[in-house]
Structures are given as structure tokens and as C-alpha cells.
Symmetry: C2
Subunit: 283 residues, 2 copies
């Protein structure tokens, strides 16, 4: 690569948050950057990171991790991302690209907007993961083939754009560029609503039916296994869109319920057939 600007292969990368997403990212980036450091506040995670030889330096001290960073990747829950965006200027004076991996983007981009000018920020959201978080469950191939939704700010410069492109290439992911508002609207439908539905399903499940759980329930309920600590900040920062999606969902559910209540099987069949054909179009 002879083009000017950011070069991942020559960059000092700092991953903040060594959970499922940050840990998997560190595993995938090992051979793609000059230096890889990781920050986590959990002592067990830090010792596991050392055992795994995950990064050159794993520490809970931001000064140690951030002092020479060219690229900071914020791989923590949304409230922590917002808090780090406020703290970064105290630790970083050098030019530095900032990429977050949060699942809602509007509020995070507003936070990024406030960063001093030595920062070149850009939003990114990898649409992958699983309900079992933490470094223990990290996988180097987690991002492979996944969509990385990239949400640039107006101020996002050459370095940020190149960094995110090179990151996506290193992860073998696929980049989709979208405005933050459109991203949040779409993700409310494809991720945040499904999480709320799975949670409601589990809450409504009588405890004594456990013996009759099979792959169908397991699949529909899976997202309810996600720790609330991960999702609460997402729901809070995408509240308006999630509430919109809930309204549409309730309307669709109401139609199905009404057909069943009336014992109107032709109407129920029409709805279910149309759900199946939309499923096939979507997936």
C-alpha cells in the first residue's frame, strides 16, 4: 500500500474492552498491526488475556494502553463507549483514529463529534456476536463474513476512513456504509426488537415446560441470554426507534391473534404464508 494516510500494518492499536467483541477483534488483528494493546477493568479478563497471549500489553490503566495509540477501538457496552469518548482526550494528544463497535450509533456519533481535533472518529458496528459474552467465548473468526455497518461523521477524515476499511479487510468482514439515523432504524428492527421479543418470550414461559424445549424455542429465545448490561444502553440510546418497531410488531401479532381467536384459518394461513415468503426474501 503506497497510498498516503493510515496504515493498519504500521499502527499501534488499543482495544478498550476485552470481552467477546474486543477479544475476538484482538485475536483477528494480531498479525495485522504493529502493536496491539488491550484495556479491561476486570482482573480475571486481564489474566486470561495474558494467559492467551492475546495482546502485547493488557492493563486496566488507560495511560499504559493509550499513550502511543494510533487507533483506539471501543469494544464495550454503549454507556462505557460514551464515557470513554469523554475520557480519551485526557490520555491521547497524538493524532488518533477512534472507532467504536456500539449497536446504536446516533448518541455515540454525537459524543464523537465533541472529540478534540487530534482525533479522527468514525462509527462501526459489526453485525455479529453471540449471547455468551466475555473473553472466554472469543473467536478469531467471529467477524469473518459478517457485515460491518460503518457510520461516518462529517468530520471523519482520510485516516478514519482508511482505518475502518483496512480493519474490515483484516477481519474478512463486509462493509456497508450508512447514516447513523438509518442504521439505528434498521437495527431496531433486526436486532433490538428481536432481543426484546426473546426476553418477553422467556418471561412468559411457565417454568414447568422445560422438558419440552427443543431447537425451535432455543432459537427464538436465544437472544434473551444476552446480559442486560450489554443491551440496556443500546435500548436507551435507540428508544424511539425500538418503540416504533414494537408498535408495528404488536400490530402484526394482533392480526395473527385475531385470526386465531376467530378460528379464521384461511386468514391465518394468508398471514403465515406471507410471513414465510417474507422470511425467504429477507434471509
Amino acid at each position: 500500500m503506497d497510498e498516503p494516510g493510515f496504515k493498519l500494518s504500521e499502527a499501534n492499536v488499543a482495544v478498550i474492552g476485552l470481552g467477546l467483541m474486543g477479544g475476538s477483534m484482538a485475536l483477528a488483528l494480531r498479525d495485522h498491526c504493529r502493536q496491539l494493546k488491550g484495556l479491561d477493568v476486570d482482573p480475571d479478563t486481564l489474566s486470561l488475556a495474558e494467559q492467551m497471549n492475546l495482546v502485547q500489553t493488557a492493563s486496566s490503566d488507560p495511560r499504559v494502553v493509550l499513550n502511543d495509540a494510533d487507533l483506539v477501538i471501543l469494544a464495550c457496552p454503549v454507556p462505557a463507549i460514551l464515557s470513554w469518548l469523554e475520557q480519551l482526550p485526557a490520555y491521547i494528544q497524538q493524532p488518533c483514529v477512534v472507532i467504536d463497535l456500539g449497536s446504536s450509533k446516533r448518541t455515540i456519533l454525537t459524543g464523537m463529534q465533541e472529540l478534540p481535533l487530534n482525533f479522527d472518529p468514525i462509527g462501526a458496528h459489526p453485525i455479529c456476536g453471540k449471547e455468551t459474552l466475555s473473553l472466554r467465548n472469543a473467536e478469531g473468526g467471529l467477524y469473518r463474513g459478517a457485515t460491518m455497518a460503518v457510520t461516518p461523521l462529517e468530520r471523519s477524515g482520510l485516516n478514519a476512513n482508511q482505518a475502518v476499511r483496512q480493519l474490515v479487510a483484516a477481519l474478512e468482514a463486509q462493509m456497508v456504509v450508512e447514516e447513523a439515523a438509518q442504521h439505528d432504524r434498521a437495527l431496531a428492527a433486526t436486532s433490538h426488537l428481536p432481543y426484546v421479543l426473546s426476553s418477553a418470550l422467556v418471561l412468559a414461559t411457565p417454568p414447568d415446560v422445560e422438558r419440552f424445549i427443543g431447537p425451535g424455542f432455543r432459537s427464538t429465545a436465544r437472544l434473551a441470554g444476552t446480559p442486560a448490561s450489554m443491551m440496556l444502553g443500546v435500548l436507551e440510546t435507540n428508544r424511539d426507534q425500538v418503540l416504533e418497531r414494537l408498535k408495528d410488531f404488536r400490530a402484526a401479532l394482533g392480526q395473527l391473534e385475531q385470526a386465531l381467536e376467530r378460528d379464521d384459518m384461511p386468514a391465518l394461513q394468508t398471514l403465515l404464508d406471507s410471513a414465510q415468503s417474507r422470511y425467504q426474501t429477507l434471509l
Copy 2:
């Protein structure tokens, strides 16, 4: 086995319906019975069955398939099971065990109750499968490790009970015996409601968010891919229980929605934490 009664290894087995469930069962039973015949009304399925050498005889003619059957396995959608229960006496005069694989049991057991006395009927419901039906997707290991919910009738005799036990052993499945009413109540919660929710989710999903679909949506929406032809009869014959479960689901969803609407994050967290811990208990 020197105990008296039914012996699968010496039985002529007829599988009615060579789709995902019947085809997978035939694959698994090949070496466990004396003779295996299969009936299907779809010519393509019959030729595929022949290509696969799935059964000794594959035909759409009930006389050919049923004339010497000691065990009939009804592996078709619920309305077809009900219709076969009415038709079987015209084709079978010999002593014959009848097992169905339907996902709702009360109506089917009522139908079984009407069978002449040469029949020894018992209900069974394998809690496994996938949204892609048809023989093309059959797998010999589909039932391995799965729960087989067995719902005996009062009239179910030694042969029926032995046949189902030997069938479960041959499939390497696990047997759980339950009354039909309890089965239907539980399955409304663990299977039929999740199918309705997945369908409603898909119906409520805007078409333009396709690019942002990841594993979470895929998992929550998966059951919506099931053909309505499979599920409509299940919902119809378990209507009261599904409507009960829908009521409870709407209440749980309403709590989550209300907390989000009020921006009451502590209340939302309590609900989501409790969903996560119930998920872990259930699964």
C-alpha cells in the same frame, strides 16, 4: 429381547409421509426393522426416496404400503394425520400399532380413540426438526438426543408401549411420557407461540433492512420459515392453549414496552435481568 409383545426388529414398518420427519425416521430405522415401506402423495418425493434407496417400497398407494404393516408411523401434518386415522381401517385388518408424530396431541388422541380394536395406538411427538422441510433435508441423526414426548391413550396396550420404547431407542432419542393436555399446554409455550412470534416479527420487519440482518435476527425469525401447511393444523388443534400463551406473552411484552416508554431504565434492567436468568434456568 425375550419379553413378549412387539419387536421392532421383526416388524413391518410403514411410514406415512416421507418429508423431513418421516424421511429422517426412515433413514434412522433402516437397520432396526424387518421391512420398511413409505407412502407419500408427492411424485418427486417418491422418486427421490427411490434414488436414496430410503425404503424397500415407496408408493402413493396405501394398499401397497399398508397391507402387511405391524407398525404405522404417521409422519405428516396434523390434518393429514387426522384423515389417515379415519382411512387406516379400510386398509388394515391385522393387529397394528399406530404412532403419530404430530405436534398437538389432544385432537389426534381423540381420533385414535375411534380406531377399531385391531389397532394399538399411541401418540408420540419428537421435539426436533428444522424450518426446511421435505425429504431433501432429511437426516438420519435428526432424532438423536431429541426428546420424544409420548402421550399414551388409556387403550394403548403392551404392543404400542413397547413399539414406542423400541422406536425411541432406535432413534437414540429420549422418552418423556405426558398426558395429552399437559403436552399441548407445554408445546403451546415452547413451540407454537415461538412460531407465531417469529412470524409476527417477520411480518413487522421493513423490507429495506435486509443488509443489517445478522445472527440475532436469523435466530429469532427462523421459525417463520416453516411452511404454514405444517403449522396451521397444529395451531387450529391447539388454539385454546396458544391463545392463553399469547395473552401471557403480550403481558410480558407490555411490561418491557412500558418501562422503555417511561424511560425507566432500572425497571427495564430488572425485567431483562430476570429474563436472562430464566433463560439460563430453562436452557
